[in-house]
């Protein structure tokens, strides 16, 4: 039927479908919002509690990017607060997540700090790659030079590549310029980041399909104003990111159900990502050496009942590669801790019944913290 011959009843039905669709959409978004997820919680499961480490009343741990800056900078602003040795600990969610944790539970970093009586700045992100550690290390170095660097190695996180957009917040021209002189992988990271940051991209040759052409335009200002007004007056709009995270979680679970993917499903290594992360690791260690910063490198504890979701032979080869390379590196203490935490201290995603291979209970943090403290002690002595 042509447009012109559409009857009143037909267009009225379409109008009602549109209006009803709008109401249903609002109801759905509202429903998602009530079950919203914080990004940090997304990777953890309901039973696992994220926790920010503290040392002598000062927050020393951060697992979101805005907290990175506030944690380190706050400490730098109060120079007199601490003038002894201190450490920087980089890792993934294992560092900040406590399975079956409760208010007041403490992380490995806090236990290690307590044992050594020195602050360990623990900066962690879910699935943080070595490329991201490289970037964060350079950023932290410019703010608070550590006396020791603790670096966790996670086989699974070698499947990650590049820098997550949230890290843009830490970037500035000085940091990018420094990275550009620090090796092939660091230069690549600087380029990746620079491509994402605001620049004079109205000009041709800046390339990309970004949104920079509208930055600083009237549109940009009005958009910012309207966004602010909507967020201030409409909770549904303000809380969209939480609802979006919930929706994406549902999609992720739908995928897992549809394809029978479980926590125990084997994950193949992706060669290019593996190579980039390993190359970045060597660059990071070289950089620490140039700075005269001793490094503690450890392979993270894993759950071994059942076997971790890797191709075990490939995983063992990787560990051998690491161990062999570390043996030749002065200034680096290396230890394979993948069997450090006993089986009974590991968690489950309670509602889904999925096994958690990465996050253990507080007792596991005690064990890891003490072991890391011993390794640091070796350096500081």
């Amino acid at each position: 039927m042509s447009e012109g011959s559409e009857t009143k009843a037909e267009w009225f039905a379409r109008a009602v479908a549109l209006a009803l669709g709008f109401l249903l959409a609002l109801a759905y978004v509202n429903h998602l919002q009530k079950q919203r997820l914080e990004a940090a919680q997304f990777a953890l499961g309901e039973d696992t509690l994220p926790r920010r480490a503290q040392f002598e009343g000062q927050l020393s741990g951060a697992h979101t990017i805005p907290n990175y800056a506030s944690t380190l900078l706050a400490a730098s602003d109060t120079q007199s607060w601490w003038d002894g040795p201190e450490g920087l600990w980089l890792g993934n969610s294992q560092m900040h997540a406590i399975n079956a944790g409760v208010e007041g539970s403490r992380t490995a970093a806090e236990y290690a700090s307590e044992q050594l009586n020195l602050p360990l700045w623990s900066l962690s992100l879910p699935n943080a790659s070595l490329q991201e550690h490289r970037f964060v290390f350079e950023w932290a170095l410019a703010r608070r030079r550590p006396d020791v660097l603790i670096l966790s190695l996670v086989y699974d996180d070698l499947r990650e590549d590049g820098l997550r957009p949230e890290l843009d917040e830490l970037a500035n021209s000085t940091l990018l310029a420094t990275l550009q002189t620090q090796g092939v992988q660091a230069e690549r990271l600087a380029t990746l980041m620079a491509d994402r940051l605001p620049d004079d991209a109205d000009a041709q040759g800046s390339g990309g399909y970004g949104d920079s052409a509208v930055r600083e335009s009237w549109q940009d200002r009005v958009d910012t104003y309207l966004e602010g007004r909507l967020s201030a007056n409409w909770s549904l709009w303000r809380e969209r990111s939480g609802a979006r995270a919930r929706f994406q979680t549902d999609i992720y679970r739908l995928r897992n159900t549809a394809f029978g993917i479980k926590a125990t499903s084997k994950r193949k290594m992706i060669p290019i990502r593996y190579q980039r992360n390993m190359a970045t690791l060597w660059e990071l260690l070289d950089r620490a050496k140039v700075e005269g910063i001793p490094v503690v490198v450890y392979i993270v504890p894993l759950r071994w009942n059942p076997d971790p979701p890797y191709e075990i032979a490939a995983y063992e080869r990787w560990k051998t590669t690491i161990a062999d390379a570390m043996a030749d590196r002065p200034g680096v203490v290396f230890e394979d801790l993948d069997r450090l935490v006993p089986d009974e201290l590991w968690g489950e995603y309670s509602k889904s019944g999925q096994i958690d291979f990465m996050h253990f209970r507080e007792d596991g943090h005690v064990i890891l913290g003490r072991r890391i403290a011993e390794l640091i002690q070796r350096h500081l002595e």
């Binding site: 447009e3 559409e6 009143k8 037909e10 267009w11 039905a13 379409r14 109008a15 009602v16 479908a17 549109l18 009803l20 669709g21 709008f22 249903l24 959409a25 609002l26 759905y28 978004v29 998602l32 499947r159 590549d161 590049g162 990746l192 004079d200 109205d202 000009a203 041709q204 040759g205 390339g207 399909y209 970004g210 949104d211 920079s212 052409a213 509208v214 335009s217 009237w218 549109q219 940009d220 009005v222 958009d223 309207l226 966004e227 909507l230 549904l236 709009w237 969209r240 609802a243 979006r244 929706f247 995928r255 992706i270 060669p271 290019i272």
Partner: protein, 485 residues
């Protein structure tokens, strides 16, 4: 101003009641002021450039029309074309020309450095330039009478729904609707809102989410890619640009419709095309039709047609044009069409890729295979889709060299098991493409007698999903790909 922004939604919410309540003369004023505002929200200084271009074309068209002396008419036409193309070449191709000249110089052992100022590409210059060129040529061809009212002409050139990324419309398709404007009826408003919603969904939800696959994949070194990576990235960008650009066009057509204008659709399910010719009757239809009437048919010496519909569908069946001339015209046209899309050689190669597809198709059709129709259709669809998608590699790869390497990698049997991306990237690309085909199939059901209640439930559910997703995913403005053209 970008369509996928709160600012645009606010502008339309302001414009709609104003248009609905105003008399005809005031409505024309609203359209002009709205269009100037729309462009100024990007950069006010460049608004003057569009106005200047329109002033020259306005007077040149009168000069062409008023004279009976062919030389005078041609002089005015040349003035108009020189100005329009000159501005386009300056703003869009200066870097390209200088860079290419330097490269050739280096090949010949001559090294020279030219320092260029920072040239900003005016938003939509490729689109409004084509509109003004078509106006001058149509007046020259005496199929268009020049308009006497400059504000009306400026509104045609700058009319906000189609200003920055088309559809590329002819004066006779827009000016009468402006001159004798009538308000949209309730049915048209509803239909326009549906189109805007669908366009936003395509852009904000589909195009912007698959862009993560594309941006990551095209940043990988080709040496690390496998055969499947090449194909996946070809399809991923093919889907991104389709959702992005057809989404834009749909918002443009929908916006025009709620304002009381009837614009032709710019896309018609291009990935269902069963031949290269069919593809170009379905993809960016108004541009294909423009190229057909102002470049391809004149180069062939054939009769032009006069509407932005029909896509590349070209000459009358009665016209006899030699195979060689037709194909030379085709190659030249597509070479220019490619460069219109971007100032780099890889865009020209993309154009030639499509020209080659059409030529091969023509050769094959000289002796059509005697096969069952279903096999011909399925084979035609598979080959057309596969090669159209592969062609997008030239469009998106950062360099021509990388594009060639990726295309070669797509046929490399030794790299069949190499995979450089996460599993989700392949899955997402597959699901988007499969989803597109499923939706196309479901929409075909429209032609059958689906009971009204079922239709209503499906429409309501579809609208609810699209609105919810747009609310969730509308965030920091992501520019449309075609804005760079």
């Amino acid at each position: 101003m970008l369509f996928n922004s709160l600012t645009y939604i606010a502008m339309m919410l302001l414009a709609l009641p104003l248009v609905a309540m105003s008399p005809a003369w005031l409505r024309r004023g609203i359209f002009l002021v709205g269009s100037l505002t729309f462009y100024s929200f990007w950069r006010i200084d460049f608004t003057l450039l569009v106005v200047f271009s329109a002033v020259v074309d306005f007077f040149a068209a009168h000069g062409i029309h008023a004279s009976t002396n062919e030389r005078v008419r041609k002089t005015f036409l040349v003035i108009s074309l020189t100005l329009n193309l000159g501005l386009l070449v300056f703003f869009k191709y200066t870097y390209f020309i200088v860079g290419s000249t330097q490269s050739v110089g280096e090949l010949l052992g001559m090294s020279f450095a030219i320092s260029l100022p920072n040239i900003i590409l005016p938003l939509g210059i490729s689109f409004y330039t084509f509109q003004t060129i078509s106006y001058s040529i149509d007046v020259f061809r005496r199929i268009q009478t020049p308009v006497n009212n400059f504000p009306l002409f400026l509104t045609y050139v700058m009319f906000w729904p189609q200003l920055v990324a088309g559809p590329v419309l002819r004066a006779h398709e827009v000016l009468p609707q402006l001159q004798n404007h009538r308000r949209a009826n309730a049915g048209e408003v509803v239909r326009g809102l549906e189109e805007i919603l669908q366009g936003l969904f395509k852009k904000v939800v589909l195009a912007d989410t698959i862009s993560s696959v594309v941006d990551y994949g095209y940043g990988l070194p080709v040496a690390q890619m496998g055969t499947i990576d090449s194909w996946t990235l070809a399809f991923a960008f093919g889907l991104q640009i389709y959702f992005d650009f057809s989404g834009y066009s749909q918002i443009a057509v929908g916006s025009a419709r709620v304002l009381g204008f009837n614009f032709p659709q710019n896309f018609n399910w291009p990935y269902l095309a069963v031949s290269p010719r069919d593809f170009w009757k379905r993809w960016h239809i108004s541009l294909s039709a423009w190229i057909r009437d102002y470049l391809y048919l004149p180069l062939q010496g054939a009769r032009f047609r006069g509407a932005s519909t029909g896509g590349i569908e070209a000459r009358e069946a009665t016209e006899k044009i030699s195979f060689v001339r037709s194909n030379v015209a085709l190659l030249l046209t597509w070479f220019i069409m490619g460069l219109w899309h971007g100032a780099a050689w890889r865009f020209a190669v993309w154009g030639l890729w499509h020209a080659s597809m059409i030529i091969v198709y023509r050769l094959l059709m000289r002796r059509p295979p005697k096969l069952p129709k279903a096999i011909v259709v399925l084979g035609g669809w598979s080959l057309t889709t596969a090669f159209a998608m592969l062609g997008w590699i030239f469009f998106r790869a950062p360099t021509l060299d990388q594009a060639f390497q990726m295309v070669l990698r797509a046929f490399d049997p030794t790299a069949l098991t190499t995979m450089a991306m996460r599993e989700n990237n392949y899955l997402m690309t597959f699901l988007y493409f499969a989803g597109l085909l499923v939706v196309a199939g479901l929409l075909r059901l429209r032609t059958f007698a689906v009971p009204t209640p079922i239709r209503f439930v499906v429409a309501t559910g579809g609208n609810a999903i699209m609105i919810a997703m747009v609310i969730l995913f509308l965030r920091d403005v992501q520019q449309f790909i075609y804005f760079q053209f």
